[in-house]
Symmetry: C2
Amino acid sequence: MEIEKKGYWYEYPRPAITTDSVIFGFDGTLLNVLLIERGAEPFKGMWALPGGFMRMDESIEECAARELAEETNVKDVYLEEFGIFSKIDRDPRGRVVTVAFIALVRPSDYQVIGGDDAARAAWFDLNMLPPLAFDHLDIINVAREKLREILKVRPVAFRLLEEVFSVDDLRKVFEAVNGTVYDRRNFQRKLMQWNGIEEVNIRHLSEERDSRSFLCCDSLPDSSEHPICQPERNSSRPGRKISKLFRLRRNNPTDNQKDIASDRDSSIKDLFNY
Amino acid sequence: MEIEKKGYWYEYPRPAITTDSVIFGFDGTLLNVLLIERGAEPFKGMWALPGGFMRMDESIEECAARELAEETNVKDVYLEEFGIFSKIDRDPRGRVVTVAFIALVRPSDYQVIGGDDAARAAWFDLNMLPPLAFDHLDIINVAREKLREILKVRPVAFRLLEEVFSVDDLRKVFEAVNGTVYDRRNFQRKLMQWNGIEEVNIRHLSEERDSRSFLCCDSLPDSSEHPICQPERNSSRPGRKISKLFRLRRNNPTDNQKDIASDRDSSIKDLFNY
DNA sequence: TCAAAAGTGTTTTAAGTACACCCATGG
DNA sequence: CCATGGGTGTACTTAAAACACTTTTGA
């Protein structure tokens, strides 16, 4: 496939279009972001958001999902567009407009790291970010704000936890996102009077759940510098009483192929308006 | 400026980037949308959202504002990006990705109609839309949903009213947007215990206010087909008691150049969460 | 003087908040 | 057997929802 002065011609100039994804993960205490180390210029060697150029045969959402899978092996996660970044000089290579996405991944997705384009990938504490390429720090800061808004409107906090979780797991997600502390009992009561989750048989799942968590934790590559390894798994702590476990109740068994679309639920109202 | 095979060449294909704006207006009862009649192919003669191609020397927000001014003479309005529409075949001319904006205009902006590109412009009741070009019906439907979310989070409902408004004006905005009815007294009480608005001297402004409204109403071009003319002005109805009038309190007299940026206020909390 | 709009109450009901206690379990 | 995490209950406070009366003013 030799390049023989082949290319694409347009009457008017056109910017390039990319996607960049702010991948949020929750380690039981803090929110983390998955970054990749750039393997090419510009900003080679610096940390950056995973993303890349949109192809002509895909939508912008497909592009974001594809780049995520290619660069970080993260698949089937919650993706939501939250902004466009189009400052004229934001990319030294020329005019590049980027569409920014928020991605929410579960702890079991923490193992998926490193793809083709990126030299490597690692999780970073949101409060200890390294120097970032392009305007990616701006993008992340906007994403933090947007994430807070999204959690108020859509029941997607669960997507930062395993399919099966405890009430305390969920509370800590809200505390990390909103930067506050909630009363343990009030949170539980408010959650319980919502019909969006259902309890699962503890004895049936607890061992499987814990073993999987440990596996996920051990398989983490100990990336250097600011590495955020998998901390203690939420409910497998040396605590005493085993937690009740819950899962999101799937109300629409019809459209099962993409339950991401069913995340908008009007019945939640101010349940999540913490 | 003759075109002599001049153009722009890129190694990889690039989609074109446009903006499309869903301009919401409030007539005292219903939400309306400002549409333009397309003067060129494709979809010539059909109604469409105002918008156009982004230039290389402007950001996407600047593009949306510019196109709005050019095509509808609407200026200095609230603009917020709410989505990207990038289906591959959404434009018969080729690959065009559009960034969709919500615009909120005041009744006094109703007179501004008709620009260069567009053959003409007219207001349409949201429930009586004409056949629309491209995927603009999809965009409008998403915009309706997003507008509801935005009004819950940011105090921008005022931007659908004049600078000076009555409590009932504001309540009707929320009723139109959310499709519900609110108790007149509860709404008033809730609003009054918010410190975001301030009363203005009635005797000082009422006549000016009413005269301006009438002027705005009369100067409307009686566009045909589905024309939505300016209905009766809110507070100049044959009602009996004159309303107290309010205006948005500007808390930051520092950044006066663009008070649009100050619309995000954390102190409102669930005030607008109706 | 009457009809419709506007302003201001009160009572009831639900939700939020701040507490204290008991249980279960691993060390 | 005790320290710790986890489950549940109760009293207090605040906000929401439902509702009625009075005033104003153009016709």
